[in-house]
Subunit: 135 residues, 2 copies
Amino acid sequence: MNTDQIGGFLHEKGVKPSFQRIKVYEYLMNNKEHPTVENIYRDLIKEIPTLSKTTVYNSLNTFIEKGVVQAISIDGNEMRYDLYERRHGHFKCEVCGRIYDFLPPKEAYEELEALEGFLITDRQIYLKGVCKNCR
Amino acid sequence: MNTDQIGGFLHEKGVKPSFQRIKVYEYLMNNKEHPTVENIYRDLIKEIPTLSKTTVYNSLNTFIEKGVVQAISIDGNEMRYDLYERRHGHFKCEVCGRIYDFLPPKEAYEELEALEGFLITDRQIYLKGVCKNCR
DNA sequence: TTCTTGAGTTGTAATCATTACAAGATTGGC
DNA sequence: GCCAATCTTGTAATGATTACAACTCAAGAA
C-alpha cells in the first residue's frame, strides 16, 4: 500500500486520513515488531520534525476506536501496537523481551465466541515464557 | 483457610509468611473481584495501620514470582491481581469496568500448549465487551 | 539472654507512560 | 477565499510503579 491507498483505507474505516495518521499507520505496516509509542515517535520524528508524541497517542487511540489497530497490554509496562488482525495471539519472551505473533488454532478462538449473554468485541490471547532463541 | 493454614501454604510455596504477606494473600482469597493495589491497600490499612503501599507491591511481586498469584494486565491502566488458578480467562466490561472470570473451554487452553520450540510459563486469555448487566 | 545477620517493612523520592488542556494550524464545504 | 470543525502541538498534570535507604523484626549462635 502506498500513501494514497492507506489514506483511502483509513477513510473507509472512518478515520480522517491526515498526514500524521497516514505515517503512523504506515509505520505499523512496516514494523511488525509491536512497537511502543516511543519507538514510533523516535523513528517518525526523523521524517516529521514537528511531530508531537501526543499526536502519536491520539492517532493510535483513534485507530483503536475504529478497529484498525489493536493495543497489546501483555505486561504492565508500556502498551504496544499492532495492526488489527482477527485471530492472532501474542507471545512474550521473558528473556529477550521480544513479542512474537502466533496463530492460535482456529478452535481456540471459536470456542471463545460463546459467552452466555455477553457481547464480545475484543479477544486477546497472551502467552509468556522463553522463546526458541533464548532457550 | 485460616491464618495458620495460609502461612503453611505460603511456606510450602517458598514464601516466608510474614504477617503482611498473609494478610495480602488472605485479602485475595476473600476478594475475588480482581482488586488493584489501591483496593488492597485502602482496605488492609484499616486492619494494619502501619501498612505501606510498597509492602503491598512487594508482597504481590513475591507471590507472582512464586506462582501463587497472577497479575492481570487486561487494560493499560493499573494491574489487577488474582489467586493463581490454571485455566481461567478474564472478561472486562467496557461499560461498568467490572472484570469477570470465565472458564475457557478446555480445548482453548489445550490448543495453546503446543508452540513449536517455545517454553510457555503463563497463559492469559482476555476478552472485552459489554457484560450481561450492561447490555 | 544478648549479638548478629539477613530478610521484611516503611516512607519518600524518582521514574515513566499516558492523558488533559489550551493555543495554534489545517482542512473541507460553502 | 472564508469559516467552522477537526487535528496537531507542547506543556503540565496525573497516577501507577519502582528505587532507595533507614528502620524493624525474627531466628540462630555464642
